[in-house]
Amino acid sequence: MKLTSLEQLQKIKEQGLKRAYPEKIKIMVGMATCGISAGADKVYRALEDKIAARKMDVALEKTGCIGFCQQEPLVDVIYPKKVRVSYATMTPAKAEALVESLHSGKFFGENVLCRIDQEEFLIEGTTKAYANPHPPELPGDIPKYEELPFFKKQVKIALRNCGYIHPERIEEAIGRGGYATLYKVLTAMTPEEVIAQVKASGLRGRGGAGFPTGVKWEFCRKAEGDLKYIICNADEGDPGAFMDRGILEGDPHAVIEGMAIGAYAIGASQGYIYCRAECPLAIQRLQIAIQQAEDLGLLGDNIFGSGFSFKLKIRKGAGAFVCGEETSLIASIEGKVGEPRPRPPFPAQSGLWGKPTIINNVKTWSHIAPIIARGAEWYAGYGSEKAKGTTVFALVGKVNNTGLVEIPLGISLREMIFEIGGGIAGGRAFKAVQTGGPSGGCIPEEFLDTPVDYESLGALGSIMGSGGMIVMDERDCMVDVAKYFIDFTRDESCGKCTPCREGTLRLMEMLEDITAGRGQEGDLDKLEKMSGIIKKTSLCGLGQTAPNPVLSTLKYFRDEYEAHIWAKKCPAKVCKELITYRVDADKCNGCQLCRLKCPVEAIQGAKKVVHEVLQDKCIKCGTCFEKCKFDAILVE
């Protein structure tokens, strides 16, 4: 059925709400890639089998990731008209126990993460309450969702539906306000009005560069051309980032609706989503979502009978980091080698097949519908004076709470890491936070009160980037981290321009020498000089930002470089050539565990006799250090 009126959309919405909030008990399992790799599929199967065995009338559903990946697999139970409870780190055994307790009409009290008393319907600006009044069987000490430090400071706009809807059911997305904004745009707004709203909201490109979205759209609207294109950049190549994957797996319709609105605003009728092939589940859910939107006439010809037509296709990436750069991405969609070209002309004037093209990131697209629905002023109310709205970060590394977080711009790095992230795991000391992936830099402790926005992070020699935030502790060697990123950009450099192709290779060689104890006087000056040249002379963003990890670590952690060069020591005890493993004779009780676990038989010693590490055989894999229960292995 093709929808042509608001009444028809309303009908689907009612169906969706009935499906999403049934009269019976509903169990939801977070089944994004992160959940599945933590074992959510096994939990789902256990739930399914047990429910069937008990012949219970319970709705079992899949959903996207609510963001708290650390606590995966997450299972949510909606006790109808009472409360929604989130259960963390579930196992198949616990899942069975959960069903048993539901079967006997009891509240399941183990593995409880939090209770959700109400849900926000962001697009409509309303809330749906579960618990009113407080159900008596629920223990009083369960924390509320909004009280958990991980969620407390988050504002979910792009992630509004992730973890709340079944991502493969369009009616549930519509139930929570999806596609109503598209209807409003097509029936009651001119393209200029849409662009004006986006401009006024202050939304800037969330892919990293931060170009004002509305301004870019205006360029493209005004560009001459019978044919224009819309592209969604979902080539999330940054290592350590999974925001786009999270959105596409949890709420693909947010992106599709945003793109349709954007297409109307600039006058395009064809769109592409360029998604990296390493995210197969995201592609699969997008395919389903596009098909369902086409079936309802929300994509295709004459949408809502308005005369506006928009078609959407998925293009799979083939594993090239440089294709995240817009001109490379366009070349890749054209079926060519993904090499960048100089700008101008910018894609907004001459892009895909030479036609005016708008490229925005997944996160940017998913902000569009809420901005139009609630108004630019509402959106600009979030964030700081300089940077409006919210953005999504993948908070990972050595923090206690890892996951996907959406925060208003302008909150400090300290709040991100120590409040939302819950501090450093294992009680170790914080060393640095890395933002912006291979284009960004490492920020040390003294700048932790810096607000998270484009300019402030840029001033520190990092960038905001697309949203990877990797926290490092005292056990991370900053020279090794710089080497890691340079190795990445060296590998991913497309080879078209010399500074990037050859320069990153030379940087890599120098860093390899330093970490292997072959560093010399003058190396650091050479690193700095070479980095400066690469930054100034490279063709595209990849090369222009590639030296940032080196420059920022040189600036803030120069002492670590010097220790490698002069003392031939790695202070964090990471660089293999500069460390040795030794047995502490006072602590070793000769338990043999390390000897048995050593992969190369480099440890000798009889039972109850102090062991010895044979240095000529040792490959410094660190297995003995980790396995020893008595801290008897020393790293020096």
Binding site: T33, C34, I36, S37, A38, C69, Q70, E72, E236, G237, D238, P239, G240, A241, F242, R245, G246, A277, E278, C279, P280, R315, K316, G317, A318, G319, A320, F321, S332, I333, E334, G335, K336, V337, G338, A394, L395, V396, G397, K398, T402, G403, L404, Q434, G437, G468, I470, M472, D476, V481, Y484, F485, F488, C494, K597, P599, I619, C621, G622, T623
Partner: protein, 212 residues
């Protein structure tokens, strides 16, 4: 060419086939102009192995099917290569020649694209492709040690395939499971929160299913 039809005199001019090192300035212009510059040089024995592997998996109809699916689409080379790559697990040379004929684009251009993107393999790969994530999140949580353990266990370096063609070990720059780092993927299955001690068991579980 001079003369009339039936009585033509044709002069061939053959250009030099080698580079004179005394005159070469290394400007690179010839590299740009060379039509076979992106031809990947595969050793003869590898090439023979590759052809026989393709012959065993005679599947020209599959390639034809893939091409026809995208024939009308502009910019169809990448989707076609991706599908062939996932069908065979690699890109057999005869299949690329087939694509070249059908699309009417030179093999050198196709090889250029095929050798540019990481997803494509020009040599046969194992039944299970192991992707160890070396994204930053996994890197700081110790994925290099997971990789080392796998290299030891399988007795090869990353990028290589085991003799029995069961496993190919590759590295990937982020599979988006950063919050469950370190992670790896075997075929379609993703494993998170790994320790070096676990990987051996995971590999064994695949060896066992293969032997059944």
């Amino acid at each position: 060419m001079v003369g009339d039809p039936g009585e033509l005199t044709v002069t061939f001019s053959q250009q030099p086939r080698s580079v004179d090192p005394d005159k070469c300035t290394g400007c690179g212009v010839c590299i740009e102009a060379c039509p076979i510059r992106y031809e990947v040089q595969i050793p003869p024995e590898e090439e023979a192995k590759a052809r026989s592997a393709y012959a065993q998996a005679v599947d020209e109809t599959a390639v034809a099917g893939i091409i026809s699916q995208y024939r009308e689409e502009p910019g169809n080379l990448l989707p076609i290569l991706l599908d062939i790559n996932s069908h065979f697990n690699w890109l057999p040379r005869p299949a690329l020649e087939h694509v070249s004929r059908e699309l009417g684009s030179p093999l050198s251009e196709i090889l250029r694209v095929a050798s540019f993107y990481n997803a494509f393999s020009l040599v046969p790969r194992g039944q299970h492709i192991i992707n160890v994530c070396l994204g930053t999140g996994c890197f700081v949580k110790g994925s290099p040690r997971i990789l080392e353990e796998l290299e030891r266990k399988l007795g090869l370096k990353h990028g290589q395939t085991t003799e029995d063609m069961l496993f190919t070990l590759e590295v990937v720059r982020c599979i988006g499971c950063c919050a469950l780092a370190p992670a790896m993927r075997v075929g379609e299955d993703t494993f998170g929160r790994l320790t070096p001690g676990q990987v051996g068991k995971i590999i064994d579980s695949y060896t066992k299913t293969a032997n059944l």
